[in-house]
């Protein structure tokens, strides 16, 4: 009887392990869980170049929708109907002055303040400066109420490039954030401005 229960548990564990997506696993060599490439990325498309300005690697089989005005594009996970997925949006804005790298923490603080003013229902706001491959980004995270009644988790990456600020906004449901965190981290770290 006891042997039977132990065998069933082992099978269940194996079955659960097999069910976890491969890209959700913590890849060795990734230093920051929220800003870094996967060492052996799977289900990630090759880098795409936009307007000869920057390149970025996006999740495979996600649906890409080019944007307009200050929205460059949006990619959403293809899911079955009524199933909650994730989305990534890239926006940009012009700055009045270039931001010195030493000023990033302050800019992050200002952005956080502005977000807090804008997202009046937001919670759990955090702001960090993260580095990967010699590039820095302002990372702001917070939760906000979702349309389905649960909470969404938002991760906003900001890249100042000259007098342009790029905003990579990654959104998933709060309860599935661990599933999408490696994908968000990889995409964010893959953003590479192109030298003209």
């Amino acid at each position: 009887m006891i042997r039977t229960h132990l065998l069933g548990l082992a099978v269940s564990v194996l079955a659960l392990s097999a069910a976890v997506p491969a890209f959700a696993q913590q890849s060795p060599g990734v230093t920051d869980p929220w800003f870094g490439r996967m060492s052996k990325p799977k289900d990630i498309d090759p880098p795409k170049t936009f307007a000869n300005t920057f390149s970025i690697e996006l999740p495979k089989d996600w649906q890409l929708a080019p944007g307009h005005t200050n929205t460059i594009f949006g990619v959403t996970e293809k899911t079955k109907r009524f199933l909650v997925g994730a989305a990534i949006v890239l926006e940009y804005s012009q700055l009045q002055a270039a931001v010195d790298p030493s000023l990033l923490p302050t800019v992050g603080q200002v952005q956080l303040t502005e977000l807090q003013k804008r997202e009046l229902s937001g919670s759990k706001f955090t702001q960090q400066i993260k580095s990967a491959d010699g590039r820095q980004a302002i990372v702001i995270q917070y939760d906000r109420p979702g349309l389905s009644g649960g909470s969404d988790h938002v991760v906003q990456y900001s890249y100042p490039v000259g007098t342009t600020m790029y905003y990579l906004i990654c959104i998933s449901s709060a309860d599935q954030v661990e599933k999408y965190r490696p994908i968000f981290a990889h995409v964010a770290a893959s953003f590479t401005p192109l030298k003209k």
């Binding site: 700055l95 009045q96 002055a97 270039a98 931001v99 010195d100 000023l103 302050t106 800019v107 603080q109 200002v110 952005q111 502005e114 100042p160 600020m165």
Partner: protein, 524 residues
């Protein structure tokens, strides 16, 4: 006895016995001696004759035409015998009584009322009748002044020559009367003939004497001429004085000079004109001043003063003449005229310093001392008012200034100064405390000011660490504000950027790079 003789032209106009009184002379009837002059060369109150010891001073009463002596206008002149002064057309001189001249034929003598005592009349008895008897031309002077005070003038004849012919004429009259017999008639004829001869001889002698004297009289008077010219009456001067003078002697230098004054721009004499005969040259001003100086040395002070005054009339700015005039005037003054040395000031009653008194200054009068003490007392009380109003710094400065002036022990100055020191210490501690409070409230600049003020008031309060700490805070906060300003500015949030940059300007020194950036971006 001194007599004053007044001539008009060459005629004796009148004479006066001077008995030491002051005699007023002028055209007005109120004068003692009235000189009527229709041409107004004589002023209403022209001059006065003052007795000064044995001498008489003729003093100009600021008349229009003045007194002229030797061709110069003088303010005064000592009218000694031999000195002639001109007033308009009149000449005045004095003689001692024994030297009084007998009136010349045709001259008139008048006496003023004041001098009309019988004994003063010396002339009328001598002129009784001869003019009617002698066949001598007697011409009463036309226009001879007859004043209300004056005795009517009568013609004056030469007494020395008139008496004898009178007796002879009586004899002649007697001879013409019948005597009774042929001898008597013959004798009478002889006597009558002799009388006629004598009468003719006397008449001829009298006529000769009159003509001789007339010929010997000067044809002009330079002083009168100068007076007329000086008063602008050139026509009269030329007609009565200068013209006759030039007729008598066309080369008369003085007459020519006066004529030149009447005609200031005469045509230059031709080079071939004969030089005038050598006349005694007019002394230069320097020579006249030399003479005056010599007169002063010889104690002839009045003469020196007259000469110098005459020079000053023409050249009032002559420094040497002024100097000599002062010397001559001083020479005239009696020795006791020197002003006495001022009396020593009365001793000042000194007030004790404890009562607000001050030290007495040299030469200070009681009134000045009292005034100074009162002024210092008021200043002290004003300083006390500052102290009571807790204006310690101002009060301290004022008390220190007072302490530098007043003697020690002045009122309670020492106590007040001690009070001020204690008050300043208390004030400094209070200021320091308010500085800490300002620092805690983030008013770093206010805190710094208070710390510094406390230390200035009481140097025993060490604020070095406080100042360093606050300056460190300012730097940190300024840099933070700078970054926030930059970030907001970069993100286009200009209102927030401006607010932060304002903080930068308050907190960071001008030497900081962010200061200039903040200033420029605020302006933008």
């Amino acid at each position: 006895m001194t007599k004053l003789l007044i001539y008009r032209g060459d005629a004796l106009h009148g004479e006066y016995d001077l008995k030491g009184q002051t005699v007023h002379i002028g055209r007005s009837p109120q004068n003692d001696i009235v000189l009527e002059d229709p041409s107004k060369g004589v002023s209403r109150q022209h001059a006065e004759l003052r007795a000064e010891g044995p001498h008489y001073m003729l003093v100009d009463l600021e008349s229009q035409n003045g007194i002229w002596v030797h061709g110069s206008r003088v303010p005064s002149v000592r009218l000694d015998p031999g000195v002639t002064a001109a007033l308009g057309p009149f000449r005045l001189t004095t003689v001692e009584a024994a030297d009084a001249p007998a009136p010349a034929p045709g001259e008139f003598v008048m006496e003023p009322t004041e001098y009309s005592r019988p004994e003063a009349r010396t002339i009328p008895e001598a002129v009784d009748g001869p003019g009617a008897v002698l066949d001598v031309p007697v011409t009463p002077a036309a226009g001879v002044p007859v004043t209300p005070q004056a005795v009517p003038v009568v013609p004056a004849g030469p007494p020395a020559t008139s008496q004898e012919p009178t007796e002879k004429s009586q004899a002649a009259v007697d001879a013409r009367q019948p005597a009774g017999g042929p001898r008597k008639s013959l004798a009478a004829i002889v006597v009558a003939a002799a009388a006629v001869v004598l009468l003719i001889g006397a008449s001829g002698f009298g006529a000769y004497a009159w003509l001789h004297k007339r010929a010997a009289r000067p044809v002009w008077d330079r002083d009168v001429a100068a007076a007329l010219v000086g008063s602008g009456k050139c026509d009269e001067a030329m007609r009565e004085q200068i013209g006759p003078a030039l007729n008598a002697n066309p080369n008369d230098a003085e007459a020519l000079a006066l004529k030149a004054q009447c005609a200031p721009t005469p045509p230059p004499a031709p080079p071939t004109a004969p030089a005038p005969p050598a006349a005694p040259p007019e002394k230069t001003v320097a020579e006249k001043l030399d003479d005056a100086e010599a007169s002063i040395a010889a104690k002839d002070c009045q003469a020196a003063l007259d000469a110098v005054n005459a020079i000053l009339t023409d050249t009032p700015d002559d420094a040497r003449a002024k100097d000599l005039a002062a010397k001559a005037a001083a020479c005239l003054k009696p020795a006791d005229a020197t002003p006495a040395a001022p009396a020593a000031p009365a001793a000042v009653v000194k007030i004790s310093p404890s009562q607000g008194g001050l030290d007495v200054l040299p030469g200070e009068t009681q009134r000045e001392y009292t005034k100074r003490v009162a002024a210092m007392r008021k200043r002290f009380e004003d300083a006390v008012a500052l102290l009571q109003g807790q204006h310690y710094q101002q009060a301290s400065k004022e008390f220190e200034a007072i302490a530098a002036i007043v003697p020690s022990g002045y009122l309670d100055l020492a106590q007040k100064r001690a009070d001020i020191k204690a008050g300043i210490k208390d004030e400094a501690r209070a200021v320091y405390a308010s500085g800490r409070q300002a620092e805690q409230q983030g008013d770093l600049n206010g805190a710094l000011q208070r710390y510094q003020r406390a230390h200035d008031a009481d140097p025993s309060i060490d604020v070095t660490a406080d100042v360093a700490r606050v300056n460190g805070q300012k730097l940190t906060l300024g840099q933070q504000a700078c970054k926030l300003g930059d970030a907001n500015y970069a993100l286009g949030q200009n209102a927030d950027a401006t607010a932060q940059y304002q903080r930068v300007l308050e907190l960071l020194p001008e030497s900081d790079a962010c200061y200039g950036r903040a200033k420029s971006r605020i302006k933008r």
